[in-house]
Symmetry: C2
Subunit: 214 residues, 2 copies
């Protein structure tokens, strides 16, 4: 019976996600669903891309958090349109939340929309939001074993970021093991090693993103 309820929830979510996807397609909006552990650098990555691309394309942001508007305030201080969704305990965004706020955010046509999911390597992976790109951010201090443990997340990624690369000298991070874990799940996914703190690797990521704009 529990399985039946879960099926219904997933079906309802999928229907709304498909509607979001059609909306994004018609408006030429590249929507990126950013998923990661707490503190891996989701907002920092968004801020770096905003800095690099804001003169070339309209950007807007949906911030998902259980509580607080800390991240939205950082985005707003740059003059970028942003809406904060507080899930109030919910461990992931869903398609209905996105559908509800996209209108209020007045996302412009031919634009880039970042959707920062709740910090969580588990639940967000199973809820399609209608996005065009699933971006998963890992970070060096979390360790190289994450692809072995959070399979659904790394398996479904369209692009993987390894952030906090500047901390590599201070941490026992086995890069070969990290990549081996990813390749076993997701053979061709591009992986970018970056540091939002030092700026290393951001150019390559930005170039990749530019090539994917609708």
């Amino acid at each position: 019976m529990e399985i039946k309820v879960l099926k219904n929830i997933m079906y309802a979510n999928q229907k709304l996600a498909d509607e979001n996807r059609e909306f994004f397609k018609q408006k030429n909006i590249t929507a990126i669903n950013i998923m990661a552990s707490p503190g891996a650098g989701k907002t920092s990555t968004i801020l770096k891309v905003i800095d690099a691309l804001r003169n070339e394309v309209s950007i807007s942001v949906i911030e998902g958090d259980i509580a607080s508007s800390i991240d939205a305030e950082k985005i707003e201080s740059l003059g970028i349109p942003v809406i904060q969704i507080n899930t109030g305990g919910g461990c992931h965004l869903d398609a209905n939340m996105i559908k509800t706020v996209v209108g209020d955010l007045k996302v412009s046509e031919n634009s880039l929309l970042f959707i920062e999911n709740v910090g969580n390597l588990v639940c967000p992976s199973t809820f399609d939001l209608g996005e065009g790109i699933k971006m998963v951010i890992a970070s060096v201090p979390e360790g190289h074993d994450k692809p072995y443990k959070y399979i659904s997340m790394f398996e479904g990624a369209d692009v993987i970021i390894l952030n906090k690369a500047d901390l590599m000298p201070y941490i026992d991070f086995d890069r070969d093991s990290f990549y081996k874990g990813i390749r076993a799940l997701n053979e061709n996914v591009p992986v970018f090693e970056i540091s939002c703190r030092t700026g290393e690797g951001i150019d390559e990521l930005v170039k990749w993103l530019k090539d994917r704009l609708c």
Copy 2:
């Protein structure tokens, strides 16, 4: 209707958690539910405490992961009894899982039982396992804003660890803000700053744990 289902699940979980709690009490078992983001250092902390306390008290471990037995193998290599629970997608342990495996693990009387939850700062906080101590591990690279975003987790903690303190010089971590966030939610919770890599702070944590053994 969805809320009704959730209520039923929570009621069923609470009933089993109460049974686990009674079992632990009768056997004089100090059960610690360890919750944290992926890669914050749950297993590393357990390994450090095992190293410090194994000659003084019987220790056993339940490892919760969505997939893999990486963590259980680390524990087993020390000759400590361990059982791995793979939730297969589930984002948290629940009381029924603990009840099911505690028998197989043959946890001895007057012992210490670590229950390492799935790496997730959200969902585990709402599922009572019947544990005596809720331990929340944050880590410096995750940033100082975690208590503001993952309220339920920090609010419910009986002890908070701040791991990876050795990385403080390389990261913009605002210690005052971190503590302010915790104190707003949980006025008297003890907080231990440790580094599983360098060993700093472990002695104080171990001393605190020893005082809490049943």
